[in-house]
Symmetry: C2
Subunit: 464 residues, 2 copies
């Protein structure tokens, strides 16, 4: 489904103001190398592509059918796809179990037809998916607008987003790309009549190219699948960062009418998550922060909760120390040997105690990398947070090579927090050097905590 | 001090790479109408301005002296200022109580000299201040770079920032300006040898042009001043949004070495804050969010904690409902009369229960304003959160007039949260229409909660 050579778009339209036209416009706006076959009863050409009256008339059975037609026609059309030899389908149409009654009946019918033809079906009530490596974007999400570069230029570690909610699924991409994160897949699963979130995780784990998973779920349909896949992910060391919608009464009302999900007891979910080291979060920004931490330093997880703070702003150091304490991290005084090494570079109003206030003056002379290296070298810390101002690339440009060397060689994770609003050039410079740049200090502290907890959970699990 | 007609800059330099040169470059980069007198022992002209060898040689006693010279010369120079008839001074130099020992002695000397001449002194170890209305920026903070517009174009409600930490103080401006917030003053107070945070609040309350205060404090020097000023602010309905640095052990170590502050017990601070409805926060982004809420709807504080959620994304509605519950807000089902009004506009897969999922389709047809108006009209809610996508101005442009009318006429606050990363044009369009646009849903929910709590605290206080 995620790697088709040909896609039939059923319900294609020339009207790019509407969802049915926008999906084709977006697909054409990225360099997908496979064939796109618009299927339209009324048009012979759609947006410059030859259109076909039915899936039965395609030059070949498409590898994937994307359906965006009214709910009442979906079952019949899916059956036609099955008979035409199409093996996978994504149903974007709404009007199924999220409405109850007749909608639920239609959804059961879809499930039965899929089973009869042995088809793999995602949706209904979904917003499509994106495979960035194939430049394939069968979705009407405006976030995937034509021409937007899907990936950073290099081949770094990649995240996948799987979300029942379409809008929120693509919101991860929208927030994460400016932070220079690399996404391999964004999959929105809607009502999950057939395929569910953890089926996709399973596939991606087997494929072995996704390093971090961001999952937004409204319910878990199949507990056996969850158990099996969550255990597989933990064994592989591929973290699942999950937010479970519908924890509150009103939220639970909302998910029922959104995707027909039964929210379930949150305590039950929490116990399930803890068993497999699943990282739970309640916030989009925080989830992206945690993903950024794992993508950069997933191979160097902190061995404990002790953090060294290195700062050019005295107030910033104090504030982030408070944030670390709130996140359950320790900020111990550094050992005497490390302090002596640092003190040799500090003016009289700096301090090496931890937070290490290196002062703006010393940073101007020596850059951040050397101080971060000294702090990371202390045996009393498991990771380092560097407080910087990312407003101007000037300072960082001169420090680029030592920073990249440190990121490559450090055996402890090093996180950067900018207390000013960072320039995009700084985000990208640091990202290329191997660092996530956090804009929220709590997100930064919670990331270090989540990574330490994940390592501990995995070690427990592997010991059995 | 904040409104001088003439400023003597003692330690002015031509080297704009250094702090002493940068401060003059920044001052000249904004259209301050008063006189700037560089004072330099070695130069007769600095950055194109005539320089004077001593404050005694100025054509008039300057209204304000800004000192950026080595700590050991500060006392002598301040005395010279006093003798020259200068009544106010800001000391940016470091090397005082934050270093202990000799530094503490120098700070005592500064205090004594100020008292002897009856001078008003801010600092030492500060980063200067900004008065946006006067376009006066005696600071070396790179955030205040030349040419940056200091204020939005119109005369809306304004916030002031007062911070012991220079870097963080200006970080509020740096984060808040892109959100189209209007700042009247940013004052960084450093070690607070003489003037302290609440002296500035006191002045600004008397002036009557500041509506919201963002305070970042490391300690409260004078409890009587705090009591008097906090009570005055609460009576005036001008909220104090405060973060107290040094709550953790490491944070408290850090503030001691940063500004020589003794952090004190956090429980004591919390009790003090609660007495006067002071809004406590631990996070820069959240503080700005809360300020944005008060600036827009401070005259329409929510009468309780019941929130109506209006969303174009079903998942977004569920998630923000969970965030509201986490913030201690209620999300009640709407009353039947309101639901009937809303249902008349919804497609079958929408719902009016609350969260009100109006669906992307209905929003495309009717815009956000009409739905927000209907939800706000319900007697069971005290405020409204509207979940939007602020990625493109397209939808909002057509809705601009109804949105502005609603913001003006609504007797309940209306908050906007964009689940996608908003375009700057959307932030400004909504800001001009009268709405803060939140990018974090928890910040949005906590803002509504803080405003409800503040109203309750103020009503209790006024009843005595």
């Amino acid at each position: 489904m995620l790697w088709p050579n040909s896609v039939a778009l059923i319900g294609a339209s020339s009207d790019t103001q509407g969802l049915r036209g926008r999906i084709l416009e977006i697909m054409k706006g990225h360099p997908f190398a496979g064939a796109i076959y618009p299927v339209s009863r009324s048009q012979t050409e759609v947006q410059g592509l030859k259109a076909f009256p039915s899936v039965a008339d395609l030059p070949e059975p498409a590898d994937l059918a994307v359906l965006i037609i009214p709910a009442k026609f979906v079952a019949e059309e899916l059956d036609r796809c099955g008979r035409a030899g199409i093996k996978t389908a994504v149903i974007l149409s709404s009007g199924f179990a999220e409405e109850g009654g007749e909608g639920s009946r239609l959804q059961d019918e879809v499930r039965a037809i899929a089973a009869r033809h042995g088809m793999t079906v995602s949706g209904p009530n979904a917003e499509g998916f994106v495979n960035t490596a194939a430049a394939l974007c069968p979705t009407f999400s405006p976030v995937m607008e034509a021409g937007r570069p899907l990936l950073p230029p290099d081949g770094r570690a990649q995240a996948a987003v799987i979300s029942q909610s379409g809008g929120l699924g693509f919101a991860f991409f929208d927030h994460g790309r400016p932070k220079d994160l690399s996404f391999r897949y964004i999959v929105t699963t809607g009502n999950e009549a057939c395929l569910e979130t953890f089926d996709f995780v399973d596939y991606m784990l087997d494929e072995g190219k996704t390093d971090v998973f961001l999952l937004l779920i409204e319910d878990v349909k199949n507990l056996d699948t969850f158990d099996r896949v969550a255990a597989k992910a933990l064994r592989a060391g591929k973290p699942l960062i999950v937010s479970k919608l519908g924890q509150s009464q009103a939220g639970s009302r909302a998910v029922a009418s959104h995707t027909g999900a039964l929210a379930g007891s949150h305590a039950d979910y929490r116990a399930m998550f803890e068993r497999y080291g699943v990282i739970e979060s309640r916030d989009l920004d925080e989830m992206i922060d945690i993903a950024a931490g794992f993508l950069a330093f997933g191979s160097r997880l902190p061995a404990g909760k002790r953090v060294g703070i290195c700062t050019s702003s005295g107030g910033g150091g104090a504030w982030v120390a408070d944030a670390c304490a709130a996140a359950g991290l320790d900020v111990p005084e550094l050992d005497a040997a490390t302090r002596a090494l640092i003190d040799a570079h500090l003016p009289s109003y700096g301090t090496s105690q931890n937070p290490v206030d290196v002062t703006a003056q010393a940073v101007h002379q020596m850059g951040y990398a050397e101080f971060a290296r000294l702090v990371a070298g202390s045996s009393v810390v498991d990771g380092v947070i560097v407080v910087i101002t990312g407003r101007y690339p000037r300072l960082l440009v001169g420090d680029r090579t030592p920073l990249a060397t440190l990121a490559r060689e450090s055996r402890k994770p090093i996180f950067m927090w900018s207390y000013t609003k960072p320039a995009q050039a700084c985000v990208e410079l640091l990202s290329e050097a191997g660092y996530p740049l956090f804009t929220n200090m709590h997100g930064c502290a919670r990331t270090m905590r989540a990574m330490a907890d994940y390592r501990a959970a995995r070690e427990r699990f592997m010991r059995g």
